[in-house]
Subunit: 382 residues, 2 copies
């Protein structure tokens, strides 16, 4: 944490646990007999309960969206840029909730948790979960929090998919869906990248069919490769050029397979450090959750039909240089909503940062986001 | 081979070997005391020796550019689309030569060859070679063939880089440089993809620091991952969508890590079959050759300065959906040449096939290519 907490930070925060004893039936047909969710909240729920905002996190992220867990923590939560007093999602006005998704390795029940039925870590036996499963668990969680209707459900990337699913499954419990740098389904290319990442993990001899913990090892190589690959898709070609170009680490090429270019060094570091903070079974699961998301499938691939009963207002935002979920993918969502005569606003933000732009302080992005949040505030009477 | 050889095929062909006893000094400072090149030729050298065309191959390709090696061979050479009687590169008019690059695993001296100094396979001890080294070896090879000047040096992708290098290093030995779907240097993103592929191979426990043969094994997993990744970059997002979409192999998702989507099945097949026909040390080497190519570097990053002494006429061609070497990369080459007042023609072909388009029978591509080849023929007096 910086020596003095910035005034626009929520400051010191702590996570909370909630235990659920009611079984949760999953899309796969399997049932979780009980589970925990870990979450954080910022701001205060107003007496009318109208000012609650649910943040949904992306692939490798968690419930720690803003502030600091301790004075030793160097980095704040993942969306510090957008969440805090006076920020886009203004914690002086809104009660902000961010829960960690089921199947994560960050505190909610997932592959690294102990299976109460066996007394052993779930590992690869943890069921695959879908965006629909997540939203279902979040709805039950909302009941326990006493939140009947979210002023907004907000997310970037995989988080945006959850916001969309909310409008479909619980149309009367969400006032606004804010869908940033997302897509209504993965493209074949998106799935292809996920499949390469999965194969890197699955074929690592230290993977042991997911039972690496029981074998006292970790599929470090596979998870490293998966993360390196992921990183390429989070950055734009332009962003990589601006950040690294063809800069050589030692001013010359080595004529061997050590690091020649800075970009190699960066990727290796990203890959290796990820291994210490993420779980391979969880990574596999999360990529499948992404691949499976496709609300239009149940409606003969008609996305408008999928959104037909949605009641929320939508705010869709994309970034020009995002090639993981390009603006075209956001426009597909917008088109489907317009075909349904839904209330939808769309902004395409000029930005060179690629998919990662949704985490960055890009002025036009923050302006457009803040502007829309004024509307959310008005509807929430705050 | 089809039951009857198509009339526009060069038909049955066979490779030739040429041995070189003169040492070859490489960019890395190392010296190859002797080496072999394997090559094929199609058509006949005219008495004046003006009609010779050198084809330069790309990353995982070889000297077998056209025709069939036997009646059992199911697939013809890699550029059958463009090379043959009456085709763009018309073997009725031109004497076409394609040699396998040094460092390959397809017949020319490379990592899988026996090092005459040790009596053992080179393996990882084979020196890294550069595009400049290749062109140098091709020039010596040209001397032995008795070809003083190529009517054209032609290549796609990494092959186009060799054509460019020829104009820089041997300006008076090349009349036309035909550079298809190429770039004057890799971008940080290009290097990043190569680095992920390399790490997949280098970290495979069966790699044994490149001495896998001595350990009676193969880094199958790493090479498979590398190839799967490569394949994604060869196809456009559109091409993948057209080819696979989100089609499910069994009509439903499995909720496990078996193949759900057709694209996964395709990629796994591509990856696994590659392992049986390519060598991991060679793959590593070839990616470094790509990364290192940057003729402007010696000229303070001024590409025009690099081309300053070129005498060739240039034909540069790109494909709209190629995101590995996008049209913008070709335009950088064209711009540098125009700044030098060089003779350059440029065509950007509308095509959905991605980088692989240069191997495909796209009518507008073949038309533009044929048209330029008429000019090459005229200059060659054929």
């Amino acid at each position: 944490m910086p020596e003095t907490i910035p005034k626009d930070s929520v400051g010191l925060v702590q996570p909370h646990f909630m235990h659920f004893d009611e079984p949760l039936s999953l899309d796969s047909g399997r049932v979780l007999p009980s589970y925990d969710l870990i979450y954080e909240t910022y701001g205060t729920l107003n007496p009318a309960g109208t000012n609650a905002i649910l943040l949904c996190h992306a692939l490798s992220s968690d419930h720690h969206a803003a502030g600091y867990h301790s004075t030793e923590e160097r980095k704040p939560g993942w969306w510090e840029t957008c969440v805090g007093p006076g920020k886009c999602i203004d914690t002086n006005r809104f009660f902000v909730v961010c829960s960690n998704n089921l199947g994560s390795c960050k505190g909610s029940t997932g592959p690294v948790s102990v299976n109460p039925e066996t007394g052993k870590v779930f590992g690869p036996d943890f069921p695959l979960v879908t965006v629909k499963d997540w939203v279902k668990s979040q709805a039950i969680f909302s009941d326990r929090l006493g939140i009947k209707k979210w002023a907004a459900v907000v997310g970037g990337s995989l988080g945006g998919m959850q916001a969309m699913q909310w409008t479909i499954d619980y149309p009367d419990r969400i006032q606004h869906a804010i869908v940033i740098a997302s897509a209504a389904k993965l493209s074949a290319q998106n799935i292809a990248f996920n499949e390469v990442a999965r194969q890197a993990i699955l074929t690592d001899p230290d993977f042991h069919e997911g039972h690496y913990q029981a074998n006292n090892t970790l599929p470090r190589r596979g998870l490293m490769i998966a993360r390196m690959l992921g990183h390429i898709t989070y950055l734009s070609d332009d962003a990589m050029r601006a950040k690294f170009g063809r800069e050589l680490r030692e001013g010359k090429v080595n004529y061997n397979f050590d690091v020649d270019f800075q970009v190699e060094s960066y990727l290796r570091y990203q890959g290796m450090s990820f291994v210490d903070r993420f779980d391979a079974n969880t990574y596999l699961l999360m990529t499948k959750t992404l691949d499976y998301f496709d609300p239009a499938r149940e409606c003969d691939d008609d996305l408008s039909a999928a959104f037909k009963h949605a009641l929320a207002s939508f705010f869709v935002l994309s970034f020009t240089s995002d090639w993981r979920f390009a603006p075209q993918r956001s426009k597909e969502i917008v088109k489907a909503l317009l075909d349904d005569d839904k209330d939808v606003s769309y902004v395409e933000v000029e930005a060179n940062h690629g998919h990662d732009a949704f985490l960055m302080p890009i002025p036009r992005y923050l302006e457009a986001f803040s502007l829309y949040m004024e509307r959310v505030a008005k509807d929430a009477c705050v």
